[in-house]
Every structure is written in structure tokens, then in C-alpha cells.
């Protein structure tokens, strides 16, 4: 009770204690005096209220600051301006606040360094993509662009953000069927696709040829499509040029007209896969009139037409000249533009830009026709475009004309490399034209030579016929003259009785004799042209040589020619016609004698090789001239004025009949050698 009393008294002075006592004593302690209780309760209420008011004013500011910071943290912002929520470290919660700030800074550093890493990686990645000349586009399921790499947006002239949300149809004029089919396929089946040489033209007038890869990825549950385009425009252009040049040279070989080549050239200049100019025109130099005259023009009359053409050539393979003589090149247009060009002329001594380019033989690139002093009013009016290129067509020897190209419809800028390409192209084209011209003249000359050659051959034939005729005439004339002469004498003797019967008899017998001779000559001539049967026996060629040698031994001695026999003793017998072979050796030996001067020598040799058995007649005479070598076996060819010209022809015929061959060679020490080679019997 004492404790109770103490506590009660104490609670009178310290109401909080009393309050605690209320609650902590077993049972509820009810003060004895009601008034006392009310006082305690009121006190207590006031005290709580005061506490709350004080707390409100003390903590509201740091509370909201901390809350603010945490919210910023949630948004990923970890650093804050120092001026914001400045609280003195000594202030209420100041330490805590400072701790939060430093935590923020730490997080900020951490995240910042990570971002740097990511940015570096992204930069590297973009660089790689740029250098690979590739464009990356990511589409969502609704075909909208959700990402495009810098090179894509830069190339097609969009800002990085401006391209987002666009569809491919918004970017390109025409989506070729192959391309849209492939995208559908990727969507439906998830199959990746690779497309080659897709031609695209953007709504902002950028054209390209690309190899395209399309694949599907799933990012956070959403399907996306990655389109990678490899720009192969320049490669394609080079291939195209090479192909064109080769087609041009092919066409030259096919003897096509030069107009056709020119048409192909202009088509190459304008087609998107070529140099990609909108329009191209060709002016050729007319020498007589001293003017550059509009020869040809290729290009659409309007942008709509250009786009239409783009669509129509998507799947065409390059074939400018093929497809038959009437097949037009791809971009044939005979519209207003064509007519305008082919009815225009520019005098080369006039003060026009085209004449200037033609005369100076240097390309000119006009950026702004309206202000450029080089552009004369006539040209300005004619071109009706601010930017264009004029390139000379000239070969090494002369200027042929000019090629003019512009981008009238899409207004695309003309890059220096295009001008360069056009110039190179013009040079190649000029060379083609030049070589076409020289080819034509070479052809004409060839034809001339050929005609001459034919005439020579013809006259050569005639000469041979003449030789034959002359020879036969000579052979026949001699007996004929004799026959005629004696016949006259008989006639005279009839008129003149003083002639004796004896004279007439003599004349008649001579006539008879000469007639027989005539018949013999004719049969000889016939024999030569008709194969005579061979008598095949086994003969020793040494015997053939010896027999012939003895026949001419005396003549050789008389002419002071030394003849030597060098005979192989172990010669196999050869199945042959002895007399005919004797004729061969006789003819060859006679020729050798005729060619060999007194004091010279002739060697008659027989021998064997692995395959052949031979007779060689070698002389120390004059040898055979190259001209004679060609026709030495021709019948009636002779180098001797009294020669018949049948000797070697007979030799050749007989040797051929024996399946052998004759080898002729001039000796290095002078003279020549005839070798008759017959097959060695097995």
C-alpha cells in the first residue's frame, strides 16, 4: 500500500507516470477522485496534441525531401543538384539525408559507368555496321520501324527519331514482290530469308540495290523482324559496266550498228543499276555541218514514268543488246524528251556549253545552271534543270561528241564519283565506237585483200593451166609441124613434076613416123593422169640405185661430176615395182646432175631407220629456192628452160603409189637432198 501511495502521489506530479500506471497495473486503476482523472486526461490530450504539432513542424520538410529522393531513385536518377533540398547536417535528419545523397552519388557513378560501356559498345557496333555498308531496321509485328541504325536513317534522309513508327511502304516507293513475300514468309513461318539484288527507290529519291536478309526475333514476348540491307549498288554498277562493255565488244564482233552501241551506252547511264542518272542524251559531231547534233536520248518524261520503269525492270537481267535485233533496250522512251533532243543542234564554234566541252574535251559539272556563268542561255533553256553533267566522248584521235546527264526528276545530287564514272564510261564507249570504225575499215581491207588473193589463186591456176598447155603444145607442135611441112612438100611435088616419087615416099614415111610420135605423146600425157598398175615384187633397193647409176655413169663422167655410192648392205627386200623405182632414181639423179656444176659431187645413199628404208640423193648444186619448194612437185613446173616439168611429178606419183614419202631439204653446205622413204617391211 505504501508503494501504491507513493505512486499515487508521484502520478499527481507526473501525469505520464500516472497514465502508465493506468495501463500497466493489473486491473484498471481508477483514481479515487473523478476530477483528478479528468485533469490527468486533459493534460494527456494536450500533451499528445502538442507533440503532434511539434512533430509536424519538425519532420515534414526532411520527410518530403527523402520521399522525393527515393522517387528519383526509382526513376533512375541518382544524382541531384546540390541546391535542392539543402539541409544542414546539424538539422533534424541531416545525417540521414547526407547518407542518402552519397548513396545516390555512388549509384549514379555505378550506372553512369555502365552506360558509358553500353554507349561505347553501341558506337563500336554502329561503326562496324557502317563500315560493312549495311542498313539495320527492326520492325514490330505491325510493320512499324522500332529501330533503324544511323546509316539507314542518314542514307534515306530521316532523323533518328523521325523514322520510328514508319512502315516500309512509307519509306520506299515500291516494295518489290520478292521483298514483301519474304517478309510475309518470315512472319508466318519464322523462316529467315536472303534476297539478292533487290532494287529499291525511296520516297526521298534515294535508290539502291541491296542484298537483303530478314529474320525474326522475340524480345520480351513480342515478335520483331530484323531487316539487314547490304548496299551493293556500286559493285553492281561495276559488274554492269563490265558486262556492258563486254556486250558492246561482242556486238562489234557481231557487226552490229554503231547506233545500237550508243543506245546501249545511254541506257547504261540512266538505268538505276547503271550510273543511275534520270536522263541521258547524246550529241554527236557532224563534221560537214560543224555542229553537235542530238542523236539519242534516254529517260522518262516524268517522275511517275520513272517510278513505273523502276517497277518494271525489277526482275530483268541485264541484257541491253540481246534478244534479237528488234528488242529495245530496257529504258526506251520515244516521248517528248527524245524528240526534243534529236531536234536540237549546237554549233561547235558557237558560244555554248556543249561546244565548249566538246572542244576542250574535259567534263563539266554544273551545280546551279541559273547562276553558273559557263551556262549560256540556250543551254539553260534546253536543260531546264539546275544540276547536270556534260562529258566529252573522245577517243585518242578525235572528239566524237558529248554525253549529257542529269537528275531532272528526283533532283538527286550528282556526286563526283558519278561524274568520274560517267567520264570513264564515255572513254570506254568512245574506244568502242573508234574500234568499231577501225574494225569496219579493217574488214573492208580484209575483203579487198581476200578478193585480191582469190584473183591471185585464180591467176595461179590459170598459170598452171597455161604451163600445161604450153608444154603440151610444144610437145605436139614439133611432130605436127613436121607432118604439115612434109604434106606441103608432097602437094608441091604434085604441082612440080620434077620431084621424084622417092621424095614423096620419104615425105610420107616421115609423116607416118611423126604421127606415131604424136600418138605416143598423147598416151604419155594420158598415162600421167591415169594410175598405171604396179608390178609388186620383192626388190633390193641397192639394185635399183646401182642400175640407175650405171645408166648415167658416162654422163656423170662427161660432166665431171663425182658420184659416190654409199649402200647399206643389210637392206631388207621391199615389195615394189622395180622399173618404176628406177624411174624415180633416174629422175632424181638427172635433176641432181642438172643442178650440179662441173667439179661437184653427188652421193647416192641407201639405209634404214626404225620405221623406214630410204634412198637419198644428195648433190652439191644450187639448192632449191623457197618459191620453187612450194610447187616443185606441180606437173609441168620446171626451172629449166628445156625441162618438161614432169620429172618430179612422176617421182611423187610413183612414191605415193608405194605408200612412201619424199623429204626434200637444202644442205647447210649448199645443194639439196631428196630422200625417198618407203615403209620398212615388218
Amino acid at each position: 500500500m505504501l508503494i501504491k501511495k507513493i505512486l499515487l502521489n508521484l502520478s499527481l506530479y507526473i501525469p505520464d507516470v500516472a497514465l502508465i500506471l493506468f495501463l500497466t497495473e493489473e486491473g484498471i486503476f481508477v483514481p479515487e477522485e473523478r476530477s483528478h482523472f479528468i485533469v490527468v486526461l486533459v493534460y494527456f490530450l494536450i500533451k499528445i496534441s502538442l507533440h503532434n504539432i511539434v512533430a509536424f513542424f519538425c519532420f515534414i520538410k526532411p520527410y518530403s525531401a527523402v520521399k522525393d529522393i527515393l522517387l528519383q531513385f526509382q526513376r533512375g536518377r541518382y544524382s541531384m543538384a546540390d541546391s535542392a533540398h539543402v539541409l544542414k547536417p546539424s538539422a533534424c535528419f541531416g545525417d540521414l539525408f547526407e547518407l542518402l545523397r552519397s548513396t545516390g552519388r555512388y549509384l549514379d557513378n555505378l550506372v553512369g559507368s555502365q552506360n558509358d560501356e553500353i554507349e561505347k559498345f553501341r558506337e563500336l557496333y554502329n561503326n562496324v555496321i557502317l563500315s560493312a555498308n549495311s542498313y539495320f531496321v527492326v520492325l514490330n509485328a505491325r510493320d512499324e520501324v522500332i529501330f533503324a541504325n544511323k546509316s539507314f536513317s542518314a542514307n534515306f534522309r530521316y532523323t533518328d527519331d523521325g523514322i520510328l513508327g514508319l512502315r516500309l511502304e512509307d519509306i520506299f516507293y515500291i516494295i518489290p514482290g520478292r521483298f514483301s513475300d519474304a517478309i510475309d514468309n518470315v512472319k508466318k513461318r519464322g523462316q529467315s530469308a536472303v534476297l539478292r539484288k533487290i532494287k529499291l527507290i525511296s520516297r526521298r529519291k534515294i535508290s539502291l540495290i541491296a542484298d537483303i536478309k530478314i529474320s525474326r526475333v522475340t524480345v520480351q514476348g513480342e515478335k520483331q523482324y530484323i531487316v539487314v540491307m547490304d548496299d551493293i549498288t556500286s559493285q553492281w554498277r561495276k559488274d554492269y559496266q563490265i558486262s556492258l562493255i563486254s556486250q558492246i565488244s561482242e556486238s562489234l564482233q557481231r557487226d552490229e550498228e554503231v547506233e545500237r552501241i550508243l543506245y546501249a551506252i545511254l541506257t547504261a547511264v540512266t538505268s538505276g543499276s547503271g550510273l543511275g542518272f534520270n536522263r541521258a542524251m547524246l550529241f554527236l559531231y557532224n563534221e560537214q555541218k560543224k555542229i553537235l547534233t542530238g542523236k539519242m536520248a534516254v529517260g522518262p518524261d516524268s517522275m511517275e514514268e520513272a517510278v513505273q520503269i523502276w517497277g518494271s525492270v525489277q526482275n530483268e537481267e541485264l541484257n541491253l543488246l540481246g534478244g534479237g535485233p528488234d528488242a529495245p533496250p530496257v529504258l526506251q522512251t520515244n516521248g517528248a524528251f527524245y524528240k526534243q533532243v534529236v531536234t536540237s543542234n549546237f554549233a561547235i564554234n558557237g558560244n555554248t556549253l556543249f561546244a565548249d566541252v566538246f572542244n576542250k574535251r574535259a567534263p563539266v559539272h554544273i551545280y546551279d545552271a541559273a547562276s553558273d556563268p559557263r551556262v549560256d542561255p540556250e543551254t539553260r533553256k534546253f536543260m531546264d534543270v539546275s544540276e547536270f553533267v556534260v562529258v566529252p566522248l573522245c577517243s585518242a584521235n578525235k572528239a566524237l561528241g558529248v554525253v549529257v546527264a542529269d537528275n531532272k526528276f528526283n533532283g538527286a545530287p550528282i556526286y563526283e564519283d558519278h561524274v568520274e564514272l560517267l567520264s570513264i564510261f564515255a572513254v570506254q564507249a568512245s574506244l568502242s565506237i573508234d574500234s568499231y570504225n577501225s574494225l569496219t575499215s579493217v574488214k573492208e581491207r580484209m575483203e579487198h585483200i581476200q578478193a585480191k588473193q582469190e584473183a591471185i589463186v585464180e591467176s595461179e591456176k590459170m598459170a598452171a593451166v597455161g604451163r600445161i598447155a604450153a608444154h603440151i603444145a610444144h610437145e605436139i607442135r614439133n611432130p605436127l609441124v613436121t607432118v604439115g611441112g612434109y604434106a606441103r612438100r608432097i602437094l608441091q611435088s604434085v604441082k612440080k613434076p620434077q620431084k621424084t616419087l622417092e621424095d614423096i615416099e620419104k615425105a610420107a614415111s616421115i609423116i607416118l613416123h611423126e604421127s606415131e610420135r604424136l600418138e605416143k605423146i598423147l598416151s604419155n600425157v594420158m598415162d600421167f593422169s591415169r594410175p598405171s598398175p604396179l608390178i609388186r615384187e620383192y626388190n633390193n633397193l641397192n639394185d635399183v640405185v646401182k642400175d640407175t647409176y650405171y645408166l648415167l655413169k658416162n654422163v656423170l663422167q662427161e660432166r665431171k661430176i663425182t658420184a659416190t655410192l654409199d649402200l647399206e648392205q643389210k637392206l631388207p627386200l621391199v615389195k615394189s615395182d622395180f622399173n618404176q623405182l628406177k624411174q624415180v632414181v633416174l629422175n632424181l639423179l638427172q635433176n641432181a646432175m642438172d643442178a650440179t656444176p662441173a667439179g661437184g659431187s653427188i652421193i647416192l645413199k641407201t639405209g634404214l631407220t626404225e620405221t623406214h628404208i630410204y634412198i637419198r640423193i644428195k648433190d652439191s648444186g644450187t639448192g632449191i629456192s623457197p618459191e620453187a619448194m612450194d610447187k616443185i612437185f606441180d606437173p609441168f613446173f620446171t626451172s629449166k628452160i628445156t625441162g618438161v616439168g614432169l620429172g618430179l611429178a612422176v617421182v611423187k606419183k610413183i612414191v605415193n603409189d608405194h605408200n612412201g614419202e619424199i623429204v626434200i631439204s637444202n644442205n647447210s653446205e649448199g645443194g639439196c637432198q631428196f630422200s625417198v622413204e618407203l615403209l620398212r617391211p615388218s
Binding site: G466, A470, A473, H474, E475, R477, N478, L480, V481, T482, V483, G484, G485, Y486, A487, R488, R489, I510, H513, E514, I641, T642
Partner: protein, 121 residues
Amino acid sequence: MSRILLVEDEKNQRELYAAELRDDGYEVEEASDGKMAVEKVKSSKYDLVVLDIRMPEMDGIEALGKILSRDKKIPIVIHTAYSNYKSNFMTWTADAYVTKSSNLDELKTKIAEILAARGQA
């Protein structure tokens, strides 16, 4: 009387021409080849030579050269069955080229002309 050397290898022809020329009043000596002709020119004097081209031993062209080297002024008539060498006779420096014929008129005319020109009819 003019002396003619007739060079011809064909016996029958030679006899025919000799008989004809003698009938016309010429004195005719005969040679059967070029070699013999050259010998005869060396040993005797002739007013004219009728020379065949194709002959054995020494043909007419060789003989022509040798005869002319002996006597530059002696007139020579080439008399041959070849009709195709006529264009050459000037270079061979002969005086006439007559193609053989059964009709001897051309030969006789040429001989007469040449001798007349030399004042030796």
C-alpha cells in the same frame, strides 16, 4: 648467096627446113645441137643462124649466148615450137622469134627481111 646455119635437133624437121631454104636459094649448113652450132660458127662465117631452143647437149639459149659472144653482129632467128617464150627473145638479144609452123612463110619472110636490112639479099 647468103649462108644460113640451121640448128635443129629433130632430124626430120631439119631436113625439111633445109630443103625448103635451099629451094629458096640459100646456102644451108646444118647442126643438130647447140654445141655443134657453136663449133660451126667458130670455124666458118654465116650470114644468119636459125636456132631451135630445146635441144640436147646445149640448148638454144646457151648456144645463142656463145654464138653472140663470138660474133656480136650475126643475125639470129629463134625458131621453136614454144610459143610462150616470145616475150623473152629481146632480152636474149635475138633478132626474131618465129614459132614453128608447117607453113614456113613466116620464117622465110623474117629471114629475107633481116638479110635485106643487112644488104645481103
